[in-house]
């Protein structure tokens, strides 16, 4: 099953599964098997933003006033988010595009990944403003043990799927020895790897950003690092859409609305899916512990942050048909909602430097009234 960039067979995408059917040929959206992905594309594109639109220059002064413990919290979170978006800016493309069979889903994944690259660029924008040379911060991401541990866990499901897909697309089904290790490649195994990978991505979008978001917005509650907060708000809005897309994929499978074999696998691997989710929750609590190792910050400590993670975990587990794990019923950080609400993100163009105000614009609508005071 070699991948082709333009499948010359006539295929009816209305009956193709989302993954592992025929590869896509025409990028057409006139007919869609799962129209939700086209709607998500439209919504995501309507949220387009550039990091440079947000003025972060005042943050430099604020940063100087933070305690060392707070500086550690702020910088560590940026490093972790940089890691997450480095992975998300490329992996959905590399892992999913070669096995996608629907044009609307293909374009959604490309749109999704593209927005993650905007997030990555915004971290450079933030750090360049804080340090004359931010390279030390970036260099630490690949050597910092706390970050590395999470990176391993996030990337392994992607890497597994990518490697198995490569074997399948070059050699087909079979058992292959590669570098002394045996790999059994069957369609069923591939689909299982895809299912686990999608669950891991879903947990990433659902949980992994939120400890960091909470710290950022806690600074903003104290009117500190507000440029950064404005950027993180835009990122959080995007991540909520990304999460919706993985929830849709998982639910389409589980409810038998796509590939019937994926419905079986969803049932068969339910415990593993749960485990993936709970591991992410556990790692985020560990991250909170690491953040506050030198002391907490005003309005936030390890305990509150951990219960917030449990609170959102319950909601996000329920969204993919997993039984909520934790006791907590009430939101321990109710002010977070103000920052995660889409209404509050939309600032008037004259208040922020929106790109469409930066470039010259032409009003193409001309009515006869425009010529009333015009004499020759």
């Amino acid at each position: 099953m070699r991948y082709t960039t333009f499948n010359q067979k006539t295929i009816d995408t209305m009956i193709e599964p989302m993954f592992f059917g025929n590869s896509v040929n025409v990028a057409r959206y006139d007919q869609q098997k799962h129209p939700i992905f086209e709607k998500l594309i439209e919504k995501q594109i309507s949220f387009f933003w550039r990091p440079e639109e947000v003025d972060v220059s005042k943050d430099r002064v604020d940063f100087g006033k933070l305690s060392d413990a707070e500086k550690h919290i702020f910088i560590s979170n940026l490093k972790y988010q940089t890691l997450l978006d480095s992975i998300q800016g490329r992996s959905p493309n590399i892992a999913f595009l070669p096995i996608i069979s629907l044009p609307e889903l293909e374009t959604w994944v490309e749109t999704w990944s593209f927005f993650e690259t905007i997030h990555s660029r915004s971290y450079t924008h933030i750090l360049r403003n804080l340090f004359s040379d931010p390279s030390e911060i970036f260099d630490d991401i690949v050597v910092n043990e706390e970050i590395k541990r999470r990176a391993t866990d996030i990337s392994k499901y992607y890497d597994d799927l990518i490697f198995a897909t490569q074997l399948f697309q070059t050699r087909g089904e079979g058992t292959y020895e590669v570098e002394g290790e045996n790999h059994v490649i069957t369609m069923r195994e591939l689909k299982k790897k895809l299912f686990l990978c999608m669950n891991s991505v879903n947990a990433l979008e659902a949980i992994r950003f939120y400890v960091s978001f909470a710290c950022t917005f806690a600074f903003a509650e104290r009117e500190l690092m507000e440029g950064n907060s404005k950027i993180i708000r835009l990122i959080a809005r995007d991540e909520n859409i990304h999460l919706t897309s993985t929830q849709h994929i998982l639910n389409l499978w589980a409810k038998g609305k796509d590939d019937p074999e994926m419905a079986e696998i969803a049932l068969e691997c339910k415990d593993q899916a749960r485990e993936i989710f709970l591991t992410a929750v556990h790692q985020e609590k560990e991250w909170a512990k690491y953040l506050f190792k030198d002391g907490s910050m005003l309005g936030l400590n390890e305990e509150i942050l951990s219960s917030y993670v449990e609170f959102i975990a319950n909601q996000r587990m329920a969204a993919i048909g997993l039984k909520p794990e934790f006791e907590i019923k009430s939101n321990p950080l109710p002010w977070m909602n103000n920052y995660l609400s889409s209404d509050n993100v939309q600032v008037a163009p004259q208040e922020v430097e929106v790109s469409s105000y930066l470039v010259s614009q032409i009003n193409a609508e001309v009515s006869s009234d425009d010529f009333t005071d015009f004499d020759l």
Binding site: K39, K43, N240, I241, Q247, Q315, A318, S341
Partner: protein
């Protein structure tokens, strides 16, 4: 004229029952806004129908969507942030 019927319908005061409480809607309010006015804690994030955090079980009654929901919702669920009751409704938070 199904549309005009619906419009007349939504302007009438409806009731929302939740956890043994019955509350009255105000004109034009979303279910979420009605609950907030009564100081009932509701989960939400985006308030625009795409994150799904305000997903609520609809036990009885019917609603109209003000914006098309993008979040995943099951057949017996609604998004409280972008729905308006079109009859008396009964809802339940699941988590």
């Amino acid at each position: 004229m199904k549309n005009s019927l619906t419009i007349t319908d939504t302007t009438r005061i409806k009731s929302i029952s939740i956890g043994g409480k019955v509350i009255e809607t105000h004109e034009g309010e979303s279910v979420l806004e009605t609950l907030e006015r009564q100081n009932i804690e509701v989960n939400y994030n985006c308030r625009e129908g795409f994150c799904g955090v305000c997903r609520t079980k609809l036990l009885s009654g019917s609603v109209d969507y003000r914006i098309e929901p993008l979040a995943f919702i099951d057949d017996d669920e609604i998004l409280s942030c972008c729905t308006v009751p079109t009859s008396d409704i009964s809802i339940k938070f699941e988590y």
